[in-house]
Symmetry: C2
Subunit: 477 residues, 2 copies
């Protein structure tokens, strides 16, 4: 009897998107739950996607002069308390250790929720002269935030991320760094994840605890809710003054450097799933897919098929394309369904009928398009198809994003848009009260202020005062 196709087990997206999401996370074996709520297990198929993201970003970070370090997992409570706004932002969700080696720890240790204080305290020790600047450090690690409501990849008590922490001689240089890193994240979306972002500056209310300015990239999920996918922060001299990071400048004066931090996390996996996935499961962008090409033999017992499959696997692997040949005893139909569910971008079918004329069939996961082509052309065909798939996925997501941004001219319109889903582009007065009102009325929050500030209304539709900023509101994860 034919084994049931696995993706029958996935709830349709438009029936229950939240259920669809966790179904996909589990069935595609991206993650599993652990024994502690909110702490997930990153399974090989999910972790491999993160590895691809890390490899891409790590290269970009190094090309822009950044160096990797590793800072301690723990922060003494006394140190954590040095920057007031920062501690207020994080204290409610910290995990605190106070037993070490079976003895009470006098100054309890906070498991890092983020490492600004560790970096700044370190910088205070190693920065003395203008010659020591800039410092361009990054670390790859996990952080812990004790969350009440958790969802795989989107909000967890522990997640993987990178955090860059830099010090600069001038405000200008630090501000440029903040924007440079935002661009690197934006390019990651465009070139690797096939995700277009809305990007811009956060409002005062939504910025990071302790930062003077926060910038973000925001992706739009299939259910038309926004997902903050990466942030960069400009701190000015707030931390450096609080921690006494100072240096002797060329002019003989003691000065405080300007600081930034920036990070993306495994939340990006959530974005990939919810931007590209469909009712058959995952749809992975080719450049992060752990398996880029799956070869499904139609009759593997046929010597000619077997040889063609094995040769293709070998040749594609040699080209650096992550390829899998599935020779398990499942039916081809089961395999089609399985790798659809796992979101493999390109399937190659090799059967005796096609092979008779030296043909093979390519099937694109994103749109199910079938292409029959000469077997010998694979060397050009496969990289070209992967590139095409990437472009098609990006364009599809871009179209969806653009179709769901609405310039709103009244408060009713604003509420309609955010309730229906998508971004309300609003000419806003800049007051936090208006953000609070929108949140109370709709649960939507301000996402960011785009760099193109083309005010299309004179008055804030929420309060009627003079409009100052173009800003996006949306319901968000």
């Amino acid at each position: 009897m034919e084994q049931k196709f696995k993706n029958d087990a996935i709830t349709p997206r438009d029936q229950d998107f939240a259920k669809w999401y966790t179904d996909v996370c589990k069935k595609a074996e991206l993650m599993d739950y652990s024994d502690v709520k909110g702490f997930i297990i990153y399974r090989p198929y999910g972790y491999a996607i993160w590895e691809e993201i890390r490899n891409y970003l790590d290269k970009k970070f190094k090309e822009t002069g950044h160096e990797n370090v590793y800072m301690p997992l723990v922060i003494p409570e006394s140190l954590f308390n040095k920057e007031k706004e920062h501690v207020e932002g994080f204290a409610p969700e910290t995990l605190v250790a106070n037993i070490g080696g079976e003895k009470k720890i006098e100054d309890p240790l906070i498991i890092r929720p983020t490492s600004e204080v560790l970096f700044t305290s370190f910088y205070a020790r190693i920065v003395n002269s203008y010659r020591d600047l800039p410092k361009l450090y990054n670390q790859w690690c996990s952080v812990v935030r004790w969350e009440k409501t958790t969802r795989p990849f989107l909000r967890g008590s522990e997640f993987l991320w990178q955090e860059g922490h830099t010090l600069h001689l001038s405000e200008k240089e630090a501000r440029e760094e903040t924007l440079q890193m935002l661009d690197i994240y934006d390019n990651l979306g465009r070139d690797v994840l096939a995700i277009p972002f809305v990007k811009g500056r956060k409002s005062e209310k939504e910025k990071f605890a302790g930062a003077l300015e926060t910038y973000s990239i925001e992706a739009l999920m299939h259910d038309k809710r926004a997902l903050q996918s990466g942030t960069t922060h400009y701190f000015g001299q707030g931390f450096t003054e609080a921690f006494g990071v100072k240096y002797l400048d060329k002019d003989g004066k003691i000065k405080y450097p300007y600081q930034t931090s920036w990070g993306v996390s495994t939340r990006l996996l959530g974005a990939i799933i919810m931007v590209h996935g469909d009712d058959n499961g995952l749809v992975l962008p080719p450049y992060v897919a752990p398996i880029q090409v799956v070869i499904v033999p139609i009759r593997y017992q046929d010597e000619k098929v077997k040889n063609a499959c094995e040769k293709l696997l070998k040749d594609l692997t040699k080209l650096g394309i992550r390829t899998k040949l599935d020779i398990s005893d499942h039916t081809p139909g089961w395999k089609f369904s399985e790798y659809e569910m796992k979101g493999v971008p390109l399937r190659v079918e090799i059967g005796p009928r096609d092979l008779a004329t030296n043909q093979i069939t390519y099937v694109k996961r994103v749109n199910n398009q079938k292409i029959t082509a000469d077997l010998n052309d694979f060397e050009l065909a496969v990289p070209t198809l992967l590139k095409e798939i990437h472009q098609e996925m990006y364009q599809k997501a871009l179209k969806f994003l653009n179709e769901n941004i609405y310039e709103v001219h009244s408060y009713e319109e604003l509420k309609d848009v955010v309730n229906k889903g998508g971004y309300a582009k609003v000419c806003w007065c800049g007051d936090e009260e208006c953000e609070n009102k929108v949140k109370d009325d709709t649960t939507a929050t301000s996402r960011c202020m785009p760099f193109e500030q083309d005010l299309f209304e004179e008055k804030c539709p929420i309060c009627g005062k003079k409009a100052k900023y173009v800003i996006y509101f949306a319901k968000a994860y």
Copy 2:
């Protein structure tokens, strides 16, 4: 006035080896201390060495079919207590969190000291059929062990490592895995770190908490003390039975799989420092050196020198060789000293006099050998020299190791050897009492039993009973 050469600040090795070690760690900017005792900061120069080790091993792990995962940072105390021997081994040095989100956590969370229980508990959920085996998982992470006495890289409250955890259908396959991974570690030493290891099986007394068998690689430091540098463990079915990991086999019977784990850590940085370093500082093996070649211009203001330096930097970088050109305003002498201290394997001096005849000078860090060669031959010369340096470093370390292994025939000899430093190769009866006696009398411990068991004495020199195993004793870190 000429700035003082930095390596003046390093204590000579034979004056105070421990002081020399921490001097090198600090001055070469491998690490720094943090605000919490035992938790060190891995600075860029130290972390980059770890990255090279990781890149090499990760490739080997993947080539042998292993997949990376990421498991939670925390283990509930109740789960941790499931495997009795294991918990007894680790409980005294755990860091325990019991406040989360400002509330008491009912089942306190142990910050992972190692992840056997997490992997096994996960395997219990995902392994059902013989088709699910083997499971070949690995993770790169940090672990926490609350240590009383700590030293950079050698023993810390937090360190970076990889831990592989595998499940197998048969005892044979699991045992083979344990030995295969030991070989991968051994090859890392031979091919990358230029460190020869003594390898073999640990005694019952020295094996890992919960393991049936532990194997180790042991390096010999300059002060003739041993450093356990990597271990692999065969668990049999101890954990799988305790955690109820079971599967339906082909024959219709329910069975428990066989388990292994294996790991190396940033301790390897300690081995690199203490095996190769000298009174001028670090000596880094070429294949892990963050800077493999440093170019020191003799008169950079000379246009011809400047052009030659820049071209060489560009060309070597293109060849994938990690190259630095130092154009700072320090004197050449200061730079020689600085990069000697940082252990850069190969220095290239480019000055107007040599350039007149198109010559440049190479200087090997390991033995200070100078080679003058045609500038245009760099493409062949540099990789060849790096390979030579690796070989010279390995042979030097191997000679030192071999000169410090002594077959002992009496207890007096045994004590002499371990007190003087080096390995006492002993034909041992197998009794823990004898190990205890050696430890009480000398502080030395048994290191491992080599695979070649050529008994050269009939009686154990410690107790006079029948000798059963050849084993190494040494004082160790």
